[in-house]
Structures are given as structure tokens and as C-alpha cells.
Amino acid sequence: MAVLDTPAPALALSNEEIRRYSRHLIMPEVGMEGQLRLKAAKVLLVGTGGLGAPLGMYLAAAGVGRIGIVDFDVVDESNLQRQIIHGTKDVGRKKLDSAADTMRDINPNVEIDRYEVTLSSENALDILRPYDIVIDGTDNFPTRYLVNDACVLLKKPNVYGSIFRFEGQASVFAYQGGPCYRCLYPEPPPPGLVPSCAEGGVLGILPGLIGVVQATEAVKLILGSGDPLAGRLLLYDALAMRFRELKLRRNPECPVCGDHPTVLKLIDYQQFCGVPAHPPEAAPQTGEIEPAEVKQKIDRGDDFVLIDVREPHEYQICRIPTSRLIPLGELPKRLNELDPGTEIVAHCKSGMRSAKAVDLLRQSGFRNVRNMKGGILAWSDKVDPRVPKY
């Protein structure tokens, strides 16, 4: 069943649109009626990043009449490996502007609403309300739970996709009383336990595939054809090139969509996800050392060991001369390679993993251990700009 009513009779296609949508119009499954449904449809894309890029482009090309896009970010060089809606010329521009330009170039018939905001409990219901379908292309847990709850409260289908490294997930939540994101995962992981794409990396092509699965589902919902990916979780493994499907049931005890819901309005999702609302100012940690001081120690020939706790593939990108690679995961097994009497400085990419290494070393009886503040990124900024940042 379509999520939309039959389009108002006033809607019609121009001759230009008939030529443009010819390959849809000659298929009985779409035809004039389906194309008019697409034209009457209003879809909201939350995020114009990796998933949002193919979504925005294909939905515009397909002739979805009105597309809202929500993003507050600017295009960064590191986005271009996967966010194909933005080009090299767009680096530094607002993603909303860059995405809207590409979509309008593909199809000038599409009306584009731009929301240059962070989606929040305060604005989400107002932003989502005018749309028929919401597509979640965000990159963090608080926004995913926010989008889910808002969709359940507004009774709008939530076309979900998520990616990590070589794997993706997709589903359609809150479709006609079906299961929601909270039925799949009642609670988010505590911060820091599950790495984000920024920390863990992602194959650039992967969001293309998952985003296109989401776009397909959105178009199917609009046309009212086929079996929607509701009540099913699609898993994709790019390395194995394997799709799997798992059953997804509505949880009668779900706090949002269950039989006796307790979440009746939007909550504080940062708090729900354990993210402090106002992160404390990074207090200078005892046991930290500035990159410049490490440089001085190297230049003076001080007796100390600089250990690099990143992964071997990161060591291949860039390294600090004299550093010794001991990936964090191998450290517990390789403590015997280190002399407890010698001063140790640990570093990683930005200082997070090396802080864990410092804790581990201290717990293992190493007394004279410090963490190089800001990692090799700070080294590049403050000591040697020839070291590339990644």
C-alpha cells in the first residue's frame, strides 16, 4: 500500500517531464500514475553525507517532487572519497548548497528545502512533519534515535541505513505499525565502544550501495509496489559480497512503539546516548607531553622510547622518525619488549588510543610513561607539517 493518497488530479507532467521520465512511464509498474505519485511525494533526507549523496541524486533523478535536506556541515576533502554529490570544487562550501546544486543539475523540476541545522528534539517534529517519508542518513546514535522516535510519534516511515568499514545494514522502520529502530536495538552502545566511520574508516563505495537500497525502498513506498524492507534487517558484507536478511519483530515492550509506550514526546538524545551535554574542557592531564617537547627530546638524544600504538596500515601512511610500532591491541602481549626503567612516550593518531596505552602500561607497573598530546595530527600541526594528516 502506498504511503501517499492518489495524487491530486491537478498534477500533470509537462512534455519535458514526459521525455525525462520516459523509461519510467513505459513500465506498467510505474507508468503515469506512479510518476505522478513520485512528483507529489515529499521526502526528507537527514544528512547529505555518504548515504545522503546517492539518495539525493537518485531521488532527484527519479522525479520526487519535493526533497528536504538537513545538514549543517561544510564539504571537507576527506568527504570526497564517498560523498559523490559533492565535488573537489565544493570543498569548503556548505554541504546543503553543494548537494542542492547537484540535485538541481540532475533534475530542475525538484523542489529542494534546505535545513541548515542540527536536528534536535526541539526542531525535529516541525522539520519532519511536512514530509511523507524520512530517510536516515546520519552518522551518530543520538540523531538515529531522535529520527526514529520522531518518525514513530508522527507515524512516518523511517528508511534506515547504516555503514561501517565493509558492512552495511538497512531496513524500513515504523512502517504501518511495524518495528522501529528501538525494537532492533533498545539502547545505544556507550560512547567510545563502537567506532564511528571517522575513527574506523569506511569503504568509499559502501554508502553508495546502502544509500541506493534506501532510495529504492523510498521509491517503492511512494509507488506502493513490491515488498517493503519492513520487519526485515538487510545485512550487506562487501568483502564476502553477500547479502543476508534477518527477521525483525515489533517489540511489544518497546518504549516508543510498543503496546504501552512510555516515550510520548522527544527526549534528550545526547543524554540517552550517554554523551555529556557540555563536554568538560579538556583539563591538562598529568602524564601528557606536548609534541614540541617530544621533538626536543629526540633532538637532544634523550634516553627514552617513543611507541606508536596505531595499526601497521596507519604506520605506512606516516610516522615519526625513531618511533617504534606496537599496536594497542598487541601491547599486552609485548610488554616484555619494554624496559620499565626507561622513560616511555606513547602516541597514536589523535591521542585517544595512546591514552589507553598509557593506562595499560601504568597498570602493568611502568612508572615513567607519558602520552603525546594530540597524536601525530598535532605533531603535523606543531612540529613537522610535512607529515600528512589523514
Binding site: G50, E167, L246
Partner: protein, 91 residues
Amino acid sequence: MAKILIPTPLRQYVDKKDSVEIAGNTAGEVLASLTSQFPELKRHLYNDEGRLRSFVNVYVNDEDIRYAGRDATPVRESDTVSIVPSVAGGF
């Protein structure tokens, strides 16, 4: 031996394997055997009270064990057990 599929974020705790063959008659037995073989995996699957974490789902074939008997969900030789943690990436 049932086949347990390990998702990318957890492979670092199982010697970088994408699947592990484990003997056991129920989901609980299979997971207990898996985490005793790879102790570092345990805190990623279970909370301090020893309950499966609410952002980690376990399926026997395509069935979520929460709806199929939880730890008592039967596992046969030919079954595939999937561990599916939540991921948030999208950018």
C-alpha cells in the same frame, strides 16, 4: 559445529577471523564457548551483570534469540549464528 559470523567491529577480538566454528546445543552454550575461547570478546557482548548488551543482537539463522528462547534457543550443527551489533555510520 555451528558457524558463528563475526561482524567487522568485533573481528579484532577473534584473531581477525570473520567466522568461527563452535560446538554447542543452545545459543547460550555457543556464546559461552566462544567467549571462553576469546576472552577479550566478552565485555563487548555482555554487560557487568552478565546479560547480553542491548546494542548487540544474536540471531540463529534469521531468528533473533530474544524471541526464540534467548540463551536456550536451540542450535543445530548446520545453523549459522550471527552477532549483529549496532553501527551508526552514514557519513
